[in-house]
Amino acid sequence: MSSARHVRQGLVLVLVAALSACAPLGSGADHPAPPSKLTQAQARHEYPAPPAPPERVPQGAPTAADAVRGFAIAYINWTAATVSARMRALAALSVGQARAAMELAAAQTAGDYELKRGGIANHGTVEAVAPLGSRRDQFVVVTRERTTATNSAAYAGLRPAWHVAVANAAQVAPGAWVVSRWQPQS
């Protein structure tokens, strides 16, 4: 009996201690505190990223097709020395996926040892920019390109080849179009 009484007293003490450790009665039960960033991160295995900064473009083309054509011309004409800056400039003149893709290309080519060592360059012409279906903001772009290398024989003898990309344009202001998606298919 004595032992059982001690057990009951112990349970009461534990309950009191637990209640006193909680938030004041009547508060917080309906509005639990949000988990800390660390707790969230441990659950999701990553830290939440800050919101993306707003994208601004200094200027746009008068039509969607013009924007896509201008983008394509810049995208396919570069040398190892200019490609990173060219991609950075394209990123600044585009939004959305196209901007992210160009930023990535700029970063990768800036440190691409093989690109520079080989003296790789790409040149070409935009042969066609045609609306895709009935959409006025999506186009198929056909280019004819040649890749060369001044310090490598890898491309020697390769002829110019046709390539295809699908592009989307977005209107950022009245009469100002920029490329929002650039998806090379080949």
Binding site: L38, A41, Q42, R44, H45, E46, Y47, A49, P50, A52, Y75, I76, W78, V83, M87, A91, A100, A101, M102, E103, L104, A105, A106, A107, Q108, T109, G111, D112, Y113, E114, L115, I120, N122, G124, T143, R144, E145, R146, T147, A153, A154, Y155, A156, G157, L158, R159, P160, A161, W162, H163, A165, Q183, P184, Q185, S186
Partner: protein, 370 residues
Amino acid sequence: MATVSAMLAQRTRHRVRSGTLVLIALLAGIGFVGIGPALFATLMSGNGSGGCGTGPAGSGTSIVLGAPGNGRLVGATEYGGPGDPSSGSTGARGDNLLAHPDTYAELGGLTWQTASAMGGLAYMTPLRVTSGERSAIAYKRDFGFGGGPVAGLPRVIDLWWQFAERLGIPYENGLWSGAIRIQRPPASGAANTLGQAAGADSALAPAPSRACTAALSGALTLTPGERARLLPGGLAAAPASAPSAVKAIIAAGNQIVGKPYVYGAAHGQPLSEVAPAYDCSSSVEHLLYGGRLLPVDYGAASSELESFGEPGSGRWLTLYASAAHVFMYVAGLRWDTHDAAGPGDGSQGIGWHPLVRSAAGFVARHPAGL
């Protein structure tokens, strides 16, 4: 039978002209079973180069000689020319081969589909062909049945006589046979060179681009969504929707998972190679090189990575650097050294870690666009 064997050893026509040749071809063709897939695999993985599969549209007649290529040694024959009138001068798709002398025929069958001794290359697929010290690009405009081995090598390719002549191969009225090297040239065009073409990620892409890092990856497991997943063996599965650079980074990490941590290890070694051991910065640099975010000879300590890329967190990759240590998150998985989050964090050696750790005292950086 001896006549048949001698005939097969000497000569291959790219077209079957008679019932006799059909019979000969059928007899000889038995030897081709199984060659195609194996050679195809070799071509696809050879020397880290490849073509993008997009054929050229040009019609020039020049054959530009280049430096000798490497590639696979195969058996070849020649066809066409004045001593081989039965072959004519028109390709199987109607090309005038006299106007397109940079032509080869893939052997092994009686149709475009079955002539697959090199894996069934697409029409107009470029190949670098090397004979001795001469090398040039030829395009597939034809196919043929072929025959038995040449000098012990599988007979897989028929060279148009003018192309063979340009390589210094003596014209023997279409009867020449010998060993040459074939190799896929690098993918051309801006998108392939920059690793942005749609097919660049595909393991089945016939020709990875120059910038494609698939060669690093081996078989990279993909997982749906945007988060990498830790696999039971310590490797990471890459998010299916991640950019190719992220997948390549994860593949590079998988290459060295579990390597022992040794302070100062792997510095000074090209990042393209796998070292016996790594420290924090050399392992991170190996991964970043996998995504082609660092030059192959980069070997800085962790403190220099404090200025890597751009400040702050990235969507796919965030690197945390200080003067003493560096680690990073790639698609939600942490790449770090042994027990970096404290004893018992579940990790062993260098590799992927399931838990986050405090980033206090570290500078957060990320590559642009990632």
